[in-house]
C-alpha cells in the first residue's frame, strides 16, 4: 500500500488530498472538502493527463513561431517525448487554427493542432 499527497486544483482552497492506494486502486482519501477533490484525486493518482502547449518553427515572413497544442490531454509521462517531437518540426503557411500539425504525437493517438492562423 502506498500513500500519495496531492493538492486539489478544483478551487482556490487547494485541499491537501491524502490518498491511499494499492497499485492502481484507490483505497481511501482524506483531506478533500468536496466531491470535486474526490474525482480529481482519483484520476490524478491513477492516470494523470495534461495538455501540452508549445510552438513549432514556421516558414512565414511575419511569424517566427507557430503556437500549437495537443488536441486533448495526453498522459503526463509522455510530455517530454511530445516536446522532443515538436522541436524537430516545421509548419508551413498558410495554416489555420485547428489544422493538424502532427498526427499521433509520442504514440498517444492524440494529434497536435495549430492554435492560430498564419497566412503568409
Amino acid at each position: 500500500m502506498e500513500e500519495r499527497i496531492l493538492t486539489c486544483i478544483g478551487c482556490p482552497q487547494g485541499c491537501q488530498l491524502k490518498i491511499k492506494l494499492d497499485g492502481k486502486k484507490v483505497l481511501g482519501m482524506e483531506g478533500n472538502n468536496c466531491k470535486v477533490g474526490e474525482k480529481y484525486g482519483a484520476k490524478e493518482v491513477v492516470s494523470p493527463e495534461r495538455t501540452v502547449t508549445s510552438t513549432v518553427r514556421l516558414d512565414s515572413r511575419r511569424l517566427r513561431r507557430l503556437p500549437v497544442r495537443t488536441k486533448t490531454d495526453i498522459p503526463k509521462d509522455k510530455m517530454a517525448e511530445c516536446m522532443k517531437e515538436l522541436n524537430c518540426l516545421e509548419a508551413h503557411v498558410p495554416v489555420h487554427r485547428g489544422d493538424i500539425i502532427l498526427k499521433d504525437v509520442a504514440g498517444t493517438g492524440v494529434d497536435v493542432i495549430a492554435t492560430r492562423d498564419a497566412e503568409e
Partner: protein, 422 residues
C-alpha cells in the same frame, strides 16, 4: 479632423469584445486602434491553455481565444488601425494618434472605450540591490522571447514572484530545456491560481519558497547568482537565512499595473487602489463618454471576466450614443459603493440605479486569505446579502450581483461590501 462614433483604444481581449458588443448593440461607426502589428494583445504570447472555460465552456489557448474574437470583429466589418499609437486623449474625446501611413492625426470620438491593458512591474520598481547585468527580465518579456521570437533567454532560472505569468513561465522554460531552480514569493501566500502552482511547479518538482525574496544580485555583465533570503512578517530580510543560488536568468513576476497614461491626460479620476479609472455602473469614467474595461480598469486573473466586462462597456458606449441629447446622469439618484473590512476595492465605485442593466456584477478583491468567513452586502444599512465563503484570496477576483429593482426601491446612499466573522 475625422470623427467616429466609437473609438476603442487597444485591440486586445478587452478592446475586441467591447467593439463587437458595441456593434451588436447597434453601433456601426467603430474604430479600433492597436499599437502592435496584430490584434489579440497579450493573448498572442499566452500559448498555454486554460482560457475560455466560462465563455466557451472549453479550454482554449490564448491565441485561440483571441482568434475567436478577431474573427467576430472581422465578420462585423469593424475598422481596425494596426501599428497605430495613441499619443493623447482630451477631456472632450479628441484622440491624437500616429502611424506610418497617416502620420499624426486626430479623431473626434462620440464615445471612447479605454482598453489599453496593463504592464508588468519592472525591476526598477522593486528595489533589489546589486548590479544591473544582462539576464534579468520580467516574466512577460521572457514569455515573448520564448513564444513569439523563439529564443530561450537562459538555462538556469530563478523566478521572483508567484504571479500567474511567473508560474506559467516556470513550466514553459522547463519544457524547453531550462532548469528552473526555485520560485521565491515575498508574501506568505501565492498570488497565482492553485491550478498553476500544481501544474507548473509541482509537476516538475520546482520549489515555491513563500515569505522569501531576492536580497542581492551578483554578476557584472551577465547574471551569475542571486541571494535568496527569508523575510519576517514586515517583509524585512532575515540576514541569517541568506543563501546563494547560481543562475543566469532572473524572471520577475511581481504584479501588473494598469496602463493609464492616456486616462490621466483626459483628466479621468484614478482609483489609487486599482490604479485604474473610477467608474460607475455603466463603466463610464469621471469624464463623460469615456468608458473603461479590462486590465486598464483593474487587473483580472481570468480573461473570461475581461470579456464580460468589455462587452458591457461596448453596450454602454453604444447606449450612450443613442441617448445623446438627453439630460445626463448628474441629477439622478446615486449610490456610493464602500469596500470595508478586508475588501480592497470595488468596480464600479458608483451606481445610478436608473442607468443600471437589470443585473449588475460588482467585482472586487480581498486583501488577505479568508477561510470560512462571510461576505455581506448592506444597502442603506440593511443587509441584503450574507454568504458563507469557504475561501477568499487576494489572487482570485470575487463578485456579487446586484438587482436594479432592489436599488430602485431603496433610498440613495451607501452600499457597503464587507467580510464578517458570522
Amino acid at each position: 479632423m475625422i470623427s467616429r462614433d466609437i473609438v476603442v483604444i487597444g485591440g486586445g481581449p478587452a478592446g475586441l469584445a467591447a467593439a463587437h458588443a458595441a456593434y451588436e448593440a447597434g453601433a456601426r461607426d467603430i474604430l479600433v486602434l492597436e499599437r502592435d502589428e496584430q490584434l489579440g494583445g497579450i493573448l498572442n504570447q499566452c500559448i498555454h491553455n486554460g482560457f475560455g472555460l466560462h465563455t466557451f465552456h472549453e479550454e482554449l489557448t490564448g491565441p485561440e481565444y483571441a482568434g475567436k474574437f478577431i474573427d467576430l470583429v472581422k465578420k462585423d466589418g469593424i475598422d481596425v488601425s494596426l501599428k497605430t499609437m495613441v499619443l493623447d486623449l482630451s477631456e472632450g474625446r479628441v484622440v491624437t494618434a500616429m502611424n506610418e501611413e497617416n502620420g499624426m492625426f486626430q479623431i473626434k470620438a462620440g464615445a471612447v472605450i479605454l482598453a489599453m491593458g496593463c504592464r508588468e512591474r519592472p525591476r526598477g520598481a522593486l528595489n533589489i540591490p546589486g548590479f544591473r547585468p544582462a539576464g534579468i527580465y520580467t516574466a512577460g518579456t521572457a514569455q515573448k522571447l520564448v513564444n513569439i521570437d523563439g529564443y530561450l533567454p537562459g538555462k538556469e532560472v530563478v523566478i521572483l514572484g508567484s504571479g500567474d505569468i511567473g508560474l506559467i513561465m516556470a513550466r514553459r522554460m522547463t519544457l524547453e530545456g531550462a532548469k528552473v531552480k526555485l520560485v521565491a514569493e515575498l508574501m506568505p501566500y501565492s498570488g497565482g491560481l492553485k491550478r498553476n502552482i500544481v501544474q507548473c511547479l509541482d509537476d516538475f518538482g520546482i520549489p515555491l519558497l513563500l515569505s522569501h525574496t531576492v536580497s542581492s544580485i551578483e554578476g557584472k555583465k551577465r547574471l551569475e547568482a542571486v541571494e535568496i533570503a527569508e523575510v519576517d512578517e514586515h517583509g524585512k530580510v532575515k540576514p541569517e537565512t541568506k543563501q546563494r543560488v547560481t543562475c543566469d536568468t532572473l524572471l520577475l513576476s511581481c504584479g501588473l499595473i494598469p496602463e493609464n497614461e492616456l486616462s490621466r491626460k483626459a483628466q479621468v479620476e484614478i482609483n489609487p487602489v486599482t490604479n485604474g479609472p473610477v467608474v460607475d455602473e455603466s463603466l463610464e469614467t469621471s469624464r463623460e463618454g469615456i468608458f473603461a474595461c479590462g486590465n486598464v480598469l483593474h487587473v483580472h486573473d481570468l480573461v473570461d471576466y475581461v470579456t464580460q466586462e468589455a462587452e458591457q462597456a461596448g453596450r454602454e458606449a453604444a447606449a450612450y450614443l443613442q441617448r445623446k441629447g438627453r439630460e445626463n446622469k448628474a441629477g439622478e439618484k446615486l449610490f456610493t459603493l464602500k469596500p470595508e473590512n478586508g475588501i480592497r476595492y470595488t468596480v464600479p465605485s458608483y451606481i445610478h440605479p436608473q442607468e443600471m442593466e437589470g443585473l449588475l456584477t460588482v467585482r472586487f478583491r480581498v486583501g488577505n486569505v479568508y477561510k470560512g468567513k462571510f461576505l455581506s452586502v448592506y444597502l442603506d444599512g440593511e443587509r441584503i446579502l450574507h454568504q458563507k465563503k469557504r475561501i477568499m484570496a487576494p489572487g482570485e477576483m470575487e463578485q456579487v450581483v446586484l438587482q436594479k429593482k432592489k436599488l430602485q426601491e431603496a433610498g440613495s446612499g451607501e452600499i457597503v461590501i464587507r467580510i464578517e466573522e458570522e
